[in-house]
């Protein structure tokens, strides 16, 4: 059993858990942060997509020992605070377009969308269909068309 400290949604947390437990289970089973969902556990479905130091990652595939005390982990619960608002512009775009159906994949979709837009904007570009095609998050309800519309709208507001 090891002690692990990192910054979660702006606050420092310390957990006592074995080194090799994947961060998803530290978040969900130890800390009760349930926004990131389990959909595969092997970094394929992307339902657990969250941010580490502002970049998208999948906590199902990262051991807790690989997260350091200065690492900033942001889950969907902490996304609005990154822009100091009630909701992130991408969440607003999601609401505006009524994207969610069952909703299970949507926290991961939104976190992936924000990171993708940041990546594209950092490269001085606007979102293209090719960028959207790179998003791997599964939506078994098939909301892809609304996701594409919402990401474009959210990107304009970011």
């Amino acid at each position: 059993m090891g002690q692990h400290t990192f910054i979660l949604n702006g606050s420092t947390v310390t957990v006592n858990v074995d080194d090799d437990v994947r961060l998803l289970w530290v978040l969900r089973d130890v800390l009760g942060i349930t926004g990131p969902k389990y959909g595969c556990g092997i970094n394929v479905c992307k339902a657990c997509t969250s941010h580490i130091n502002g970049k998208a990652f999948n906590p199902c595939s990262v051991q807790v020992k690989d997260i350091g005390p200065t690492d900033q982990v942001t889950t969907i619960e902490g996304l609005p605070a990154t822009v100091g608002a009630e909701l992130h512009p991408m969440q607003e775009a999601w609401l505006e377009n009524d994207v969610a159906q069952c909703g299970y994949c949507q926290p991961g979709q939104i976190m992936a969308a924000v990171a993708k837009v940041n990546q594209v904007h950092a490269a001085g570009r606007e979102i293209t269909d090719a960028d959207l095609d790179e998003i791997r998050n599964i939506c078994r309800c098939g909301t892809y068309s609304r996701i594409r519309t919402a990401i474009r709208a959210g990107a304009e507001a970011m």
């Binding site: 858990v17 074995d18 090799d20 994947r22 998803l24 289970w25 969900r28 089973d29 130890v30 009760g32 349930t34 926004g35 990131p36 969902k37 389990y38 959909g39 595969c40 556990g41 092997i42 970094n43 394929v44 479905c45 339902a47 580490i52 970049k55 998208a56 990652f57 999948n58 906590p59 199902c60 595939s61 990262v62 889950t75 969907i76 909701l87 969440q91 609401l95 009524d98 969610a100 159906q101 069952c102 909703g103 299970y104 994949c105 949507q106 926290p107 269909d129 095609d133 998003i135 791997r136 599964i138 939506c139 078994r140 309800c141 098939g142 909301t143 892809y144 068309s145 996701i147 594409r148």
Partner: protein
Amino acid sequence: MTDLESRPSFARTNLRRRTFVGYLLGGATLAVAADLSLGNPAYAAVPSLPQISELYDLGDLQTDAARPTANLIRIVINTDGTASFELPRMEVGQGITTSTAMIIAEELDLPVDKVHVSLAPARPELMFNQLTGGSNTTVSTYTPIRVAAAIARNALLDAAAIELGSIVALLTSKEGVITGPTGASVSYADLATKAASPTTKAVSVTLAPRSSFSVIGTPQNRVDALAAVTGRKTFTLDLDIPGALPTMVCRPPTLNGSPQSISNRAQVLAMPGVTHVEAVGTGVAVRAATFGQCIDAVRALVVVWNPGSVEGESDATVLAKLRAAEIPLAVPAIPLLAQTIEAEFTFMFRSSAALEPNCAVADVRSDHATVWAGLKAPIVAQGEIAAAIGLPVDKVTVNVVTGGGSFGHKLFNDAALEAAKISQKMGVPVKLMWHRADEPRQGRVHPMATSRIRATVLLGQVLTFEQRHTSVSTDFGHGLGEMISHNLDKLPTGLGNLGFAETIFTLTQELPYDFGVVTQLLNECDMRFNTGSMRNIYSPDVACANELMVDRLAALTGQDPVAFRLAFLKNSRVKDVLRKVASVGQWGRSMPAGMAQGVAVHSEYKGATAVLVEIDCRPATVNRPITNGVTGPRVTKAVIAVDAGLVINPRGLEAQMMGGVSDGIALALTSSLHLRDGHFLEASWDNYFYTREWNAPLDFQCIVMPSTSEQPGGAGEAGVAASVSAVACAYARATGTMPTRFPINHDQLSFTVKPFVPPIPESPTDGLSYTF
């Protein structure tokens, strides 16, 4: 043949301004109720000419099944001015909590966000009026919910008249406030207790006419949208039930195997976090502090397994059995000069798994049990769990949790039943989760099927159209089967002798064309698979086969596919949706070689859909590289038009059509299971290729047709069949070859098969290498 509009008038179309009886319930705050079977009268005699499903379909069967045993649903007005309603159906993403809130808001003159719709737990007194399926929720609950809401509004008006010293006729209600002629007003919050009835009594009410609707028919966002986008929407695995620790099952290497003995139980029990290891019928269950530790324990278990149900079987051996079971095509008496075309189509096994894996929380004690799960047939679950753990039904509480998708999967209680057994054996509460790999390998599948069609044509007329659909047995054991057996004597003449599956087939399949002598027959064989009613049941396969043949018939008679369909379609609603997609989708526009349009129609759920797609089958597109992903042809554009009768929420309907198109693309092109040596090979979303962002249409349009109908139709499944058919037809046109096996890429095994022992893969540790 007759159009829908000119058929004998059905009772349900004569509901305008009808008076209904409901109840004011005795209590401290205003509570009202209505019988859930209201407004859905049984049909009278069935004329012989049209096909059965045109007149009496699966929805009618479900509605009639509910009738003799239906019970009350109730709406409560709370002292904060909101209304509460427990819906005896399950929300899985199809939007029924939103549409139900809209229906109540309409009759109650209350803002939609002041109506709280939750999901009712298992209510055995409702008998089979608590099954979510067949896109039947709004069809069957629309009138009773309106009646209850209208009674509540009348009671509020009566109380307001006293409060305001006026008479009801002079009052207006709007947005939860009742205003009198002097401008004085009183809110529903103030009236909630004043309007309460000291005793329960029957009252009559007249429903608002459609012309007065201000909520129904307007686009509304989902009532749970904010919860979904903030991560606050609670699914079964998010529940915090005291003591219910993560639990998983080490499953057998072949389909439906079972554990014989555990070789290393003590070692696994000693692993970090692990609290319990117990064999159950389906495998060896482990319970631990985290799911990560469950995964490690499942992988560490050494188990001796009994053989499964399909040892040594493969796609080819099952297909051979299906072919042997086909009902022969009859040879109709046709003129010598008639041309005959015939084809056989094969539809491979598909997984109906949702993104949320099978899961349930169970707390089984010696004298009572509580279960939480996503269940579309909770009463059946309650009964089966009670029997399995040896408790009376009334000692088993089954709570229905909103589901992360269903697609037919949650008609079954596999996880709830398994969790209850595990909790009983371990003597502790458990939170059971299936691993993703467990879903395609041991979970419910859409059965493999063949469809043989023979049609004859003479002088531009189709004389005969025969279809023989042969399927691995479809499991309807979730209560629909009970409904049917319960209703056999009430079915129209001639249906009573058909088996369950044949009944469902007959009640859902409707060839919408005037093709002379039409016969569509089903045979099923092979009960050894875990199957179920995947979204739209038989229709995606049957319609795909039909519509490909319709294109061939059009070609044979030298006609344009749209013109040919319009010439032979029986129903004006189907013709209208077809004309709409042809117009919006610019049918017939020129496309480069390797690209083509496809069009298809479908009629079910008291409605009609048409889909037009454009597909790109050019090598540069087909071979576009996506790491670990299947690319293949791309549907670049999809236009879908839907006539779903009276539409409650067009925005929700459009969402369901979008999902139907995504499903149709996957069914036609990419998604299947491969059976080899007694097990399915798939174990990941990168093995089972449901539509991904890189396969999604770049251009999607949905047109919700205006309707004067007073009757809502079904939405959840209505978009699938025409979508898969249109994609198949477009592919045939783009490549010049009619596909006969679905999905089209089934022959390519596009992944490395994961091991079967241990049954689940290790979680990677290199996640930080893939940040973006």
